[in-house]
């Protein structure tokens, strides 16, 4: 009746997941009760859950990502403290538990923390920067978000019902096959990642179509902000690579559920093929994460240097170069699997070559700062921390790209330090830089500067104190994922790393405090003009937060840095451009299809994990029926009357008049 599910699935014998689950359930219940008591459900349903507005969806993606980063960080704390405590000792985490923790840490951080944040930024910014009102497929956008949330939900449910995979964040066979993992852990992983993978693919298709087919008048390719170029290339990689993940995980699912022999080690299966295919996805995946991060920095450096970005065209070429070459390097993740010298050499060379694209970008950012008037606001601090951190991480990457060197460092702590170096240095720093930079745009008030500076310095110093010892440990011979340490000479490095974790905890606390304090002081930090940083691209032409239709009249773009040109002309002519002719605007209606589909997909996933076949069939049929039902609707759009548009825009123009006064009084623009 309930498949494999019975009461023993609840981890009564394991205190850590048990207590965590209880706390989480209490918090969730508390939040739900609060919402109910305050009668916020209609507002939440109307304005957020069924919203197809790219800005709302972007914020929800980011919120999901931040939440999951916290969970991933908790896993990291446990891992580092376990390793420090288990030097010729037991530690406090038994191996079967520790293995789930490092698997969950990787899976959550990459797939449910960083990916949603990157997707959230792209969703929020791309239509605003292109001067249009929404992405190409707004309703589909909502479906994609809710599917990602569904995957995240399944991963977290594994904490209190059942277990998670113990294979590492990429479930290599034969360990992940039924013969060696008969439990539900790998199944949780497979269904959660598959479901959220579909969501990611939907977002990728959406943004590619938006960038290529949906730009405002005059916005040619070479006038787009560089963030839109990196979003395009990242989403092209999503469209190219995520299907590989879908196919590979589907093959593993077929092996586990139907006894197929794709990756088994008997009857003609080939476990190495899994490694090959999954890294054919895995490498483009990290470029999917890092390209939008580069795009974020390409927006921040010009603004806070007061100069246009240096070398726009070389930036575009470098981005396209990285996009294409990133699909030709994946074997460097398994040099040691035995493909031989010829194959290893080819991929070693391509992995070294791809550094050239990134090098071009870094020089361009540095030259952007050179000769400019640099303002050390919080986003700029994160950006400069990124330059320093990422260069070193990239250099260790080029070291790893040399196959003979990789034979010594593969799967050692050197590798662990390298990939955290580049991911944290680029992606995490970019996320925090971008949050500080665009938070006023999204919510209408700035974040507190002092706590932002504290969060940056704790994070920057904490990162280096945590991970520099790991480089040393790797070169001393320590391999990754160890639950038990047999070499006391590693002790000082492991302890130093835990000190770094403590500093990082202070950084996370500072970041949370920054949010709390900013919300508390939001009136003092209010952004009244819509352009708090003296920005250069079109999103700063809108009020903060933008109206749901973004632009009252879509802009007519005549050069690079569209908004900068508008501002310059306004200051020179001492007036705003004349009031335009306001016309009614058609906007898409909200839809519950995303939430509805994702709800039944979660049930479907849960049922498949626990082999509750009748429930799986019912849930799938309900999801399909709901989809058809929503597709049957007659009304897709509603009209915003011209008077409403005029009213909103006149308020914006009044705020801009005030900004113009202030800028003129300040004299020349920076």
């Amino acid at each position: 009746m309930f498949g494999k599910l019975n009461l023993s699935a609840i981890p009564l014998g394991q205190p850590i997941p048990l207590i965590t689950s209880l706390v989480v359930i209490l918090i969730v219940l508390g939040v739900l009760t609060l919402i109910t008591v305050k009668k916020w459900w209609p507002y939440l349903w109307r304005e957020w859950i069924t919203s197809v507005d790219h800005k709302r969806i972007g914020v929800m993606y980011s919120a999901l990502g931040v939440l999951m980063l916290l969970r991933g960080f908790a896993d990291a704390i446990m891992m580092r403290t376990q390793q420090a405590a288990a030097i010729n000792a037991m530690g406090y985490l038994p191996p079967e538990h520790y293995d789930q923790i490092f698997t969950a840490h990787g899976t959550i951080m990459i797939l449910f923390g960083a990916m949603p944040l990157v997707l959230g930024f792209m969703n929020f910014l791309v239509p605003l920067q292109l001067g249009v009102r929404d992405v190409a497929f707004p309703t589909f956008n909502s479906v994609g978000f809710w599917l990602s949330a569904s995957g995240a939900l399944l991963v977290n449910v594994s904490l209190f019902v059942g277990e998670f995979a113990r294979t590492g964040w990429l479930p290599y066979p034969p360990l992940s096959e039924t013969a060696y993992t008969p439990g539900v852990g790998v199944d949780y992983y497979l269904w959660a990642v598959q479901i959220s993978g579909i969501g990611t693919l939907i977002a990728g298709i959406n943004i590619v179509t938006t960038v290529l087919k949906l730009r405002c008048r005059g916005m040619s390719y070479m006038r787009m902000p560089v963030f839109c170029w990196t979003a395009l290339c990242a989403c092209l990689l999503i469209v190219a690579a995520f299907p590989v993940l879908t196919a590979t995980l589907a093959m593993l699912t077929l092996d586990r559920y139907l006894g197929f022999h794709y990756f088994t080690n008997t009857a003609g299966g080939n476990p190495m093929m899994f490694v090959n295919l999954v890294w054919a996805w895995g490498h483009p995946e990290v470029y999917i994460l890092v390209l939008p991060a580069f795009g974020i920095f390409s927006e921040i450096f010009p603004t806070f240097s007061g100069k246009p970005l240096f070398g726009y065209r070389s930036m575009v070429v470098a981005t396209l170069f990285i996009c294409i070459v990133s699909m030709t390097v994946w074997l460097h993740h398994f040099f040691t699997m035995g493909a031989g010298a010829a194959v290893n050499t080819f991929f070693g060379i391509s992995s070294s070559i791809i550094a050239v694209g990134t090098g071009v970008k870094i020089y361009n950012w540095i030259f952007t700062m050179y000769g400019g008037r640099v303002r050390f606001e919080v986003p700029m601090l994160w950006s400069m921390g990124f330059i320093f951190t990422f260069i070193i991480g990239g250099l260790t990457g080029v070291l790893l790209a040399v196959p003979p060197a990789d034979f010594l460092t593969h799967n050692s702590m050197f590798l662990v330090a390298h990939f955290h170096n580049v991911i944290i240095g680029a992606v995490v720093f970019a996320i925090f830089a971008g949050m500080d930079y665009w938070f006023p745009k999204a919510f209408g008030f700035r974040l507190h500067k002092g706590w932002g500076i504290a969060a940056f310095w704790f994070a920057f110093i904490g990162f280096w104190v945590t991970f520099a010892p790991l480089y040393v440990l790797g070169l001393l011979g320590m391999t990754r994922r160890l639950q038990h340490i047999n070499f006391p000479e590693w002790r000082p490095w492991l302890y130093a790393s835990v000190v770094g974790v403590a500093i990082l905890i202070l950084g996370v606390i500072s970041q949370v405090v920054q949010f709390v304090v900013s919300i508390r002081d939001r009136e003092k930090l209010r952004d009244v003009t819509g352009d708090p940083w003296d920005g250069r691209s079109l999103e700063w032409a809108t009020p903060s937060p933008p109206p749901f239709f973004n632009f009252a009249v879509m802009p007519n773009v005549e050069g690079e840095e569209a908004y900068w040109g508008i501002k310059q002309r306004a200051v020179e002519t001492q007036q705003l451009s004349p009031e335009p002719q306001y016309e009614p605007i058609e906007m898409p209606v909200n839809s519950g299809v995303g939430f509805y589909t994702a709800f039944f997909t979660s049930v479907f996933g849960f049922a498949m994990i626990w082999h509750i076949w009748w429930l799986a069939i019912l849930a799938f049929a309900a999801a399909f029926a709901g989809f058809v039902f929503f597709a049957w609707r007659d009304v897709h759009e509603f009209e915003v009357p011209a008077e409403e548009v005029a009213r909103v825009d006149r308020a914006r123009r009044a705020a801009r008049e005030a900004l113009l006064e202030r800028l003129s009084q300040q004299g020349a623009m920076s």
């Binding site: 290529l212 087919k213 092209l236 190219a240 590989v244 008997t266 009857a267 003609g268 080939n270 190495m272 093929m273 090959n276 295919l277 054919a280 294409i324 699909m327 030709t328 994946w330 074997l331 699997m337 035995g338 493909a339 031989g340 010829a342 194959v343």
Partner: protein
């Protein structure tokens, strides 16, 4: 929104603006005729001795690629005009990805199996 009479793009599988349905049906008929010829040729070729035996797989591949091209041009109306540039570029990108994944995987897996220890079991890779 942009006027279709301006130089607007054209979606694949769609008829371009201003084209009459006669053209469309003619494309369908031509596409079907070419496809039938190529399919029959492939089926007749396989297992026959018309050409040098080891060349048959290559010939079959050529016929398959030709027929895929027929489908793309006649059924999906992928042309080289400026209104189709995005479609062609996307297709080229897709073909590149398919080539990298398939050829790369075959190359890698072949070399991996070359370096596996020899075994007397029948169930191993060739």
């Amino acid at each position: 929104m942009s006027d279709l009479n301006e130089r607007a793009d054209h979606a694949p599988g769609d008829e371009p603006p201003g084209e009459e349905s006669g053209h469309w049906v003619r494309n369908a008929n031509l596409g079907l005729a070419f496809s039938i010829v190529l399919t029959v040729a492939a089926f007749l070729l396989a297992g026959s001795h018309v050409i040098y035996m080891p060349a048959i797989p290559v010939a079959l591949l050529v016929l398959a690629i030709a027929q895929m091209g027929v489908h793309l041009v006649f059924f999906l109306h992928i042309t080289t005009g400026p209104d189709n540039t995005n479609n062609v570029l996307a297709l080229a990108f897709g073909i590149l990805v398919v080539f990298l994944v398939v050829a790369g995987s075959i190359w890698i897996m072949d070399h991996l199996s070359q370096n596996m220890m020899p075994t007397n079991q029948m169930g191993q890779m060739p």
